[in-house]
């Protein structure tokens, strides 16, 4: 839901909920084992499990900063 909320909030954000069982190759590509598994910018970052809002924001921050390098 957090990802959905962020997409609603910002024009820059797209949130896609993906059924891992229906798209197994994609899930494997991102190393999904436990769900929910949130992949940020196609693997630039990730969050495993249902994270609280501030924690997800922190991981997004880190992922985007890593992308700059």
């Amino acid at each position: 839901m957090l990802a959905t909320q962020m997409a609603l909030e910002s024009e820059w954000v797209q949130a896609e909920t993906v059924q891992a069982s229906e798209f197994p190759e994609l899930a494997e590509q991102y190393g999904v084992s436990g769900v929910p598994h949130t992949s940020i910018n196609f693997g630039a970052g990730e969050m495993i499990g249902a994270a609280p809002e501030a924690m997800l924001v922190d991981e997004i921050r880190r992922a985007l900063a890593n992308e700059q390098k």
């Binding site: 024009e11 797209q14 059924q19 929910p36 992949s39 924001v57």
Partner: protein, 148 residues
């Protein structure tokens, strides 16, 4: 053809959807090929949900026949669902997508997302909203889930 939602669930969904504020448009992209195991069921499910609120509408498109539209909405998987706002004749894309049938826990998420989109407000904290305002390029969040 047996319905997917029993009367009890239908009632509950109707009640939650009563909280909807602005109209929401659901776009479903399906593919006719055998590759899409759950396309038909997803379509049936959405066709049962939409009548439960006057503020919901549904468009169903074939991803090949409506390739340009699918590209416009960046939908590349089927069943592919877009949850958008409807304003008069305009569709407002918030970048909210679901790939795969919204079953089990994701069914509940879908219903809540419909209400969320209808509010046109994220409900996020001021801190998060402040952070999102600093974004200057796309942020793509893919949340992998399972139906159980």
């Amino acid at each position: 053809m047996a319905k997917m939602l029993n009367q009890g669930i239908e009632q509950q969904v109707r009640q939650v959807l009563n909280e909807m504020v602005e109209p929401v448009e659901i776009l479903l992209f399906t593919s006719a090929s055998e590759n899409c195991e759950y396309c038909e069921q997803t379509r049936e499910l959405l066709e049962e949900i939409v009548p439960l609120s006057a503020k919901l509408s549904l468009q169903v498109h074939d991803i090949s026949a409506a390739a340009e539209l699918a590209e416009q909405y960046h939908v590349d998987k089927t069943p592919g669902i877009v949850l958008a706002g409807r304003q008069g004749s305009q569709t407002i894309d918030y970048g909210i997508r679901i790939a795969g049938i919204p079953a089990g826990h994701e069914f509940t998420s879908l219903i809540h997302s419909l209400v969320l989109v209808s509010r046109r407000a994220s409900g996020l904290s001021e801190a998060t909203r402040g952070y999102l305002k600093t974004l200057q390029k796309p942020l793509h969040l893919q949340v992998f889930v399972t139906p159980t």
